[in-house]
Amino acid sequence: MNEKSSKKSVKGKIVLWLLILLGVYFAFLPNRFASSSVLDFAKGEPEAPTDSFDLEGFSRIPVLRGGRVKPIDSVARNTLLVLRNKRTALDDAGNKIPAINWFAEVLFNPDAGDRLKSFLIDHDQVLGLLGKKLSVDGKFFSYQDLEPHLSEIDSTAREAGKVEQEKRDSFDQNIIELYRSVLLYRKIKTTLSPPDPQLAPEMAKQLQVAEVLFDPENDKDLTAEFARFRELTAELSSRPGDIRMESADFAKVVFFLDHYSRMNLWSEFFAIPPESDDPKKQWRTIGESLVGKEPLDSQEKQKMDPSRFAITLQQLVSMKPEALKVKIRDIRENQKMDPTALFASQYAEAIKLRREVDPVLGLYENLKASYANDDFSTFNSTVAELRKVGTERAGEDASTLEFEKIYNGFEPFYRSSIAYVLIFLIAGVSWLAATYSTTLGRKGDTARLLRNAAYILTAIVLLSHTFGLAGRMYIEGRPPVTNLYSSALFIGWGAVLLCFFTEKYLRLGVASAMGSLVGFGSLVIAHNLSLDSSLNPTGDTMEMMRAVLDSNFWLATHVVIITIGYSTTFLAGFLGIAYVCHKFVLSLFGGSAKYGSKLMRSEKDAQRILGAMIYGITCFSLFFSLVGTVLGGIWADQSWGRFWGWDAKENGALLIVIWNAILLHARWSGIARIRGISSIAIFGNVVTAWSWFGTNMLGVGLHSYGFMDKAFNPLMYFILSQMIFIGMAYLPSFRSKPVVEASA
């Protein structure tokens, strides 16, 4: 007898450890869901290969996009996320191409890159416009597939763009999205390979620029052209008298200045790191590196006064470099409304002050050439050189680069969401086991084992979820919640954490199951938010904060606390759902069956405990939502001058506070018992969902920066489902059971 039970416990231990191992595997170890694992953080970077391109190294080159210095890897992934809603591309055979390989092809070998399937088009009418069928051609397309239809896409999108945003139908939205995607792809393609000026030969002859322009026969790469342009400007700056409209040399310089300035429009990211003496740490595109940034939109050039422009420019160029610098700053400060002076200042800077071609331009040219020639060693050594120069010149800003690259591949939230499913399954099986053993009158060792497994697994997943949040905080240097996307991550995290502690005291599997459900749900929502092009146009979920939000103190207090309020209110609601489902299942199987009485006894316990849990968690919700709302009021008083302005988002938060207060008062006064409390808690889900998403959809008020309308239907379905649960709580069959309603 004794031997038997010990054998059983050994078996149990093995199962427990296997489950835990499975959880660790999903959450941390190398697996097929993510391209890097926890080991990669420890190992550091692998040695550069000698027989292939060092794309690992390439992916770590620092660039600036969306206001933030990041590794090329992030740019590649985020771009693909926008284009294809995935972090991979497809080749002709349907094999997955990792983002960085795709990016290298697009940048350096555009002919091959154009053949990779990088675009997602799944709207039947948009497909029809391109003459494609979903069933025949699939939904993934290459740039080559789209190229013949570019003008159609362009004109249709323009038509759609004329429709007011609220009135656009799904075709309009999809065609506009496709247009933006194509534009993004083309900008990426031309960022490092500037489009050539498309000059007719006679025109080139007339301007006498042919000898300066890039000549593929004799020149190694574009740097030769850049160097010749520099010679031109050096010559001109020594003869400022030649700066007049009639001068041929001046016309040449102006031609190239315009050409390089135009290139800025066709750059998606900033590849040239700040110059070492630049206090503002300004990153540059190739065009900006050559001729500086245009002070105004190019169209403003038409408003210039040509003769005054030439005179001003001549004066500027004849100044000493130091004096010129001061003068340029003065113009940009005090003559902001004068396009003539502003453009003259840019031209003067380009002619007189920018004397050398930045070596980084040459390095990128090298990269391009060696990639095209399959010259591994040159490519790899250039990558190393670029990284060295880049990180040196970027300074502080590049310190999180290495981490970000591995973090990208680690996909902590994807891993966590899979592990949450596992926990939910284990907890679900534990209930089945418990019901089974209760009906047979056994002790229920299996159920206990599974509950413990779910509990321990929650801790493990919580670690990877926490790591995901902490990683974002480290990269951004910000509190955890900065936008709608991160609020979803944080809501899930808060709910799981609270469930973990609840489960610590009440080992019933309920908190584990509901926690994993909320965790999984919120991660899925977060993933969908990251795909929303209106919320996240660059595909980077770590975007910069607008001025009014740029306050770590308030983000860390108001935003975090109010988000915990959302999270706990959702949790209470899901426990309410757990109660309804529990009762529903029991009333289906319990009442008349042989084992009914045994099951009903366990129900009383469940009611008592679930009631207590809902109550306890709602206390937390009220606390956090009230304090968060009030802190929000104080922030509003600080930045907008009023404590409360009846703004849509503020009202949403207030609704949550009031609803939680109603739940607690209804319980204290004894008006609502367990069923009423559960229903109120479930409706709390509706209120919170409204406050979280619904208020943004109205598109009014100061908080409407998270505008989105795609979520409208999901929100309605969610509300409907909650109403069904509330309806289930009040099903008449519940009442007719010979069970005394237990008092909470």
Partner: protein, 427 residues
């Protein structure tokens, strides 16, 4: 509820209940729950209505009223039929007032004034303060703006809403005299006489918003401006059509006034004046209408200027704008800083420098100046200026509520943890 049992211990609650027995029904928790549920409906409806009538409209209709009438939106499901039914929604003043009564009554007749329940008392006291504070704020708060050009200084603020008719006697620039007639009087209409002005003003038409267009020369004006025979209205040949006030937050309301001046019974002419919602200096941008900021009238050897403008308040101090800065994150259109560098020249001879930027307003003399708009290219900044004497109340209320909540929930939590750790691990 365990209150009855503890009556003996202190007796005070029982005594209070007897003494204020008429308050007991008002303190009912059912009333609390009803009021809270109704306020859910109020807030939800008023939020939805912001789409239609803007924040200011929703404020006036629902929050700053006893009740509002709501029509189910037509574009929603079933809207064609339901839209016709007017649904009364209890307003903010009604619910807020009743909640204050309910809470106060509960305070007297239901709460135990003991240390153990102190959390509850603090929370509800804080909530009463929040409600009272909000009522006070909505009654007393004034919102204005101040626009300053770089290098200039300004000593007056203008209300966002509300206009006034201003006559200024500029015959001698050293002793400029200004007579203003507030909107309320303009709204009443009729003929206005004042000893400060040498003429009578007959209000012909006044409205808070209008559409105006320059009609081609030679064509006849009609309607409101038919009689206009002097000033910009006549030279620019403006025609004006009525428009409802736009309550949305971005709404622009051009107030207009058609008035006739009389010297005794002798008509001096009929003028049109339109107030620019951004302040009358904006008229400078449209050459034909630039005189709306100052329409000259010569009368009895004196030069008067007349204009309908946003209601002004002159300050005993002035603010000078040294510089404006507007910075963006590199390569994006996301601003990360708006900043105005100003000098505050105070009532005495003192002055101090201040930086006004997001989350950091300038506070002086009961007024707060917030960075509101700016145009770095055109070198001007606009502050939102707020005077809210009750601004401190919410801060105190917050502290009370937070302490109360912490107090109460730590009691509950400790009890919950104790109870469950002793009976943990149920099978």
């Amino acid at each position: 509820m365990p209150k009855e049992k503890q009556k003996k211990k202190r007796g005070s609650l029982g005594e209070r209940r007897k003494k204020f027995s008429w308050l007991v029904p008002l303190a009912s928790i059912n009333l609390t729950l009803t009021l809270l549920s109704l306020s859910m409906i109020l807030i939800f409806v008023a939020t939805l209505e912001q789409v239609r009538i803007g924040i200011r409209g929703a404020l006036a209709e629902y929050f700053e009223s006893m009740f509002g009438i709501w029509y189910y939106p037509e574009q929603f499901w079933g809207g064609e039929f339901l839209n016709a039914i007017p649904i009364p929604i209890p307003g903010g003043y009604l619910l807020g007032g009743l909640l204050i009564v309910n809470l106060t009554a509960a305070y007297i007749t239901r709460f135990q004034w003991t240390g153990k329940k102190m959390g509850i008392q603090l929370i509800h006291l804080g909530i009463i303060m929040l409600l009272v504070g909000q009522l006070a704020t909505q009654a007393m708060q004034e919102e204005s703006r101040m626009q300053i050009n770089k290098g200039d200084s300004s000593n007056y603020i203008e209300r966002f809403h509300g206009v006034e008719l201003a006559f200024s006697d500029v015959t001698d620039p050293a002793t400029e005299k200004v007579v203003t007639i507030p909107q309320q009087i303009l709204e009443d209409g009729g003929t206005i006489r004042t000893s400060d002005l040498p003429f009578k003003i007959k209000i012909k038409h006044f409205g808070v918003n209008c559409d105006f267009t320059v009609t081609p020369e030679g064509s006849k004006r009609s309607g409101l401006v038919r009689d206009v025979n002097r000033g910009v209205g006549q030279t620019a040949n403006l025609s004006v059509s009525l428009k409802d006030e736009d309550f949305s937050s971005e709404g622009l309301n051009f107030g207009y006034l058609v008035f006739e001046l009389f010297d005794g019974t002798n008509s001096l002419g009929t003028w049109l004046s339109i107030a620019h919602p951004g302040g009358n200096h904006w008229w400078k941008e449209s050459p034909k209408l630039s005189d709306f900021a100052f329409q000259p009238i010569r009368h009895q050897g004196k030069l008067w200027g007349v204009t309908l403008r946003s209601e002004r308040e002159y300050l005993p101090y002035s603010i000078e704008l040294l510089d404006v800065e507007n910075e963006f994150y590199q390569g994006t259109e996301i601003p990360f800083n708006f900043e105005s560098d100003v000098v505050l020249n105070m009532e005495g001879k003192q002055s101090r420098r201040a930086l006004v930027y997001m989350n950091t307003p300038l506070r002086h003399d009961g007024k707060t100046f917030y960075q509101y708009q700016m145009n770095a290219a055109a070198n001007y900044t606009v502050f939102q200026v707020i005077r809210n004497p009750s601004w401190l109340i919410p801060y105190i209320a917050c502290v009370l509520v937070s302490i109360g909540l912490l107090w109460q929930f730590s009691f509950h939590l400790i009890r919950f943890l104790r109870k469950n750790s002793s009976s943990a691990q149920p099978a």
